[in-house]
């Protein structure tokens, strides 16, 4: 044990012996499995191997990606946020209602983002300062946001605002393929979140709290700020996702996004994040969303399954994925 540090190895040696650090393994496994799933699907169903299908996956799941980002922050601290689905519905409703009332679209967007953020803040405060379990505080948030949505309007309201519609249809062409702005916003959110988590004190504190909250506190980290902060971020992301969703369906409806929080949580966990906190990456959550998306796509390309087989097959694919992923990552020690 008394030997000094190892002499610096040559670059070649480093490349030759490079093995990805263990903590990236779940991520790599997930990616490989996703590609595998896509490949198998591409062989089975024509049209599925079209790269546009992949891009559509991003477009169709833009809101879920953003939700997943917010959820990742929360789960990394060892918490959970059940309210996001309802906040999405509330956001679509606020956007639709305010636009109907003739607000400027930008004001409307601001109102949506503000509402989501404030809701997140309230839940964060409940959780940290009143010591209410995240599951319950955010369950109350779920009821509250859904309740507010009903309060605004029971009936659905469509969005006809030109700014919104043009934003919704705005596409960027990459050769033969096109991508919507919403997808680009979602990817940008992932990038920003990845940076925040990896390279800022706030981000590292998020991991520290997930690792051991009382240690983080004893280490003098800003636990209160960070813990409340992740719920604020999640609330903001939910509102942003709500906007993307509003752009996607151009309407506000109180029945939107029921159970969407489960999709978001599932995506995060499939992406390799531990529900107990402290381990995981937003990129994993992005992959998780894509995995859920590709399962759906596979099923609608198949198109011969009855309602109940669709559910069963979804479960089976999920199972296969999780089990293989588990074995792939367990091999390391």
């Amino acid at each position: 044990m008394s030997t000094a540090t190892v002499s610096p190895a040559s670059t070649w040696d480093r490349v030759r012996t490079f093995t990805p650090p263990g903590r990236y393994l779940p991520l790599i496994a997930t990616l490989a499995l996703f590609i595998g799933l896509f490949g198998v699907g591409g062989m089975r169903y024509d049209g599925l191997s079209d790269p546009q299908v992949l891009i559509s996956l991003l477009i169709d799941n833009a809101f879920l990606i953003v939700l997943g980002v917010g959820m990742t922050f929360v789960i990394l601290t060892g918490g959970i946020d059940l309210s996001v689905g309802s906040v999405v519905a509330l956001s679509t409703m606020i956007a639709a209602k305010t636009l109907q009332m003739g607000w400027s679209p930008y004001l409307s967007i601001a109102a949506v983002l503000l509402t989501g953020t404030v809701l997140g803040l309230l839940m964060g405060l409940l959780i940290h300062y009143f010591d209410i379990q995240p599951f319950i505080a955010t369950l109350a948030g779920l009821f509250l946001a859904r309740g507010l949505t009903y309060l605004i309007s029971v009936e659905s309201i469509s969005i006809n605002d030109p700014t919104f519609t043009s934003l919704a249809f705005k596409t960027v062409y990459l050769g033969d393929y096109y991508v919507r702005w919403t997808a680009i916003i979602a990817l940008a959110t992932v990038a920003v979140a990845a940076f925040v988590l990896a390279r800022t004190r706030f981000g590292r504190t998020v991991y520290a709290i997930g690792g051991n909250e009382s240690s983080a506190m004893l280490m003098g980290l800003r636990v209160a700020f960070t813990k409340v902060g992740v719920y604020v971020i999640s609330g903001f992301c939910a509102a942003l996702a709500g906007l993307l969703f509003a752009l996607y369906i151009l309407s506000g409806n109180s029945l939107h996004a029921i159970g969407m929080e489960l999709d978001a949580i599932a995506a995060v966990v499939i992406g390799g994040t531990l529900l107990t906190g402290g381990r995981g990456y937003v990129v994993g959550s992005l992959l998780g969303v894509l995995v859920l998306g590709i399962i759906k796509t596979l099923i609608s390309f198949d198109g011969t399954l009855s309602s109940y087989w669709i559910r069963i097959i979804t479960g089976v694919l999920l199972l296969a994925f999780v089990v293989v992923q588990r074995f792939a990552t367990r091999r390391r020690s």
Binding site: R201, M217, L218
Partner: protein, 522 residues
Amino acid sequence: MQTPPDVVATPEAAREPVIEMRDISITFGAVRALDGVSVRLFPGEVHALMGENGAGKSTLIKALTGVYSIDSGVITISGERHEFHSPAASQEAGISTVYQEVNLVPNLTVAENMLLGREPRRLGAINVREMNRRARRTLLHLGIDVDPRSVLDEHPIAVQQLVAIARAVDVEAKVLILDEPTSSLDADEVEKLFTVMRRLRDEGVAIVFVSHFLDQIYEIADRMTILRNGRLVEERLVSETSQLELVRLMIGRELEVLDRLDRAAPQTDAEEGTPLLTAVGLGRKNTLEATDLTLYEGEVVGIAGLLGSGRTELARLLFGADTADTGELTFRSERRKLRSPRHAIDRKIAFSSEDRKAEGVVGDLTVADNMLLALQASRGWLRPIPQATRTQLVDDYIQALDIRPADPQALMRNLSGGNQQKVLLARWLITQPEILILDEPTRGIDIGAKAQIQAKVAELAAQGMSVVFISAELEEVLRLSDRLVVMRDRRKIDERVNDDVSVRDVLETIAGEARAEEAPHD
């Protein structure tokens, strides 16, 4: 007994203390953890907090740093009245603390753990390269050979403790508080720590030091405050207090066990006895090279070695906590693989882990449940231990090991570190094992209790139990063991009967081995 600090006339009384705590009281429910305690800290001085397990040392420290809020009393810092409301606040005010249990986050790297909250940044982003470099420098400075990029929980508890120390000494602090930093370090590491402490003291830092090793106190501390049962006993200068007097002050009575200590454990000629367990070529990839070991009835086998030499891993393999890749285990005459601790327990093996926080304590259960956990587990859930037996066993061991508070219904997590350790020891003694593997059983245990435990071990061996004893404190190992196994670099390098082997001998064996393989790889 209750001497107010002012009465203690010291030449330095004129000097201004950096921190003064006056009449501090804290109550937890019915437990009065601190009762009007006063302490002064002077710059450029190492101040030892002394007291038995549960005396209130850790609580006092937490009261100072804002973890607990005080019920009454006054804290002044540099002459101003002040009370911290969070550890963050105390840290900002220049108080750097290493708490008793390792309080780091297991999922981040060593470097991150050292620099969390004060990472070097460039353009607002954490500069990872610089962070690793800084961490490496500090570690090197302390003589700790650890890759700063490795994840913390890959390291044994001792390394984690060193990292926690490194984190604390890395800042420019007015006050450095170390709550039992040395409890699982070996002599080498302790020496390195002391070097750093001395340097900081000379730079004018006030250092609070808690340790149950009196030798260490006498080596490094200048002044000490002695607590008993949450009350202040006295403030003393170390140079003016003899060890015996100190012990009397701490315990409140003469300690007769101490004498017994020096009468070394009865040496038995155990090789004659029945082999209880024979390990041949026991090993595990990356953690332990193939090792042979035989345990006989009624002997204590001490395992000596430096930090990271593979002692813990050997113990874990013997217990089935980890599964061995190679080798064979024979119990009496039955050849068996150990696939889980459960198998080992069924063969009457017990193992007390060195990492009590992560691998021992079940914090939210009561002391009684913690004590009876292993016995209950081996009986199976369908056969609960009868109430009368429960009470009997628990009361017996609370008394035998002097566990405080002597309340079987107290929650385990509210016990002081040393008392938790005693409960864990009781957990295994209650199962009446044939082979008892103790990894750092005296970690954080006060001097009186340590003597008790050592006496207990000797007594058990005399009754026919086979004990494997691992401790960072070589003296302790030598004092107790009948046979000595020396380990280095994850393998056994020597095994000998302990006939007056000295610490020097062991260190020389280890060093000699090092010289022997100077040239080759690694």
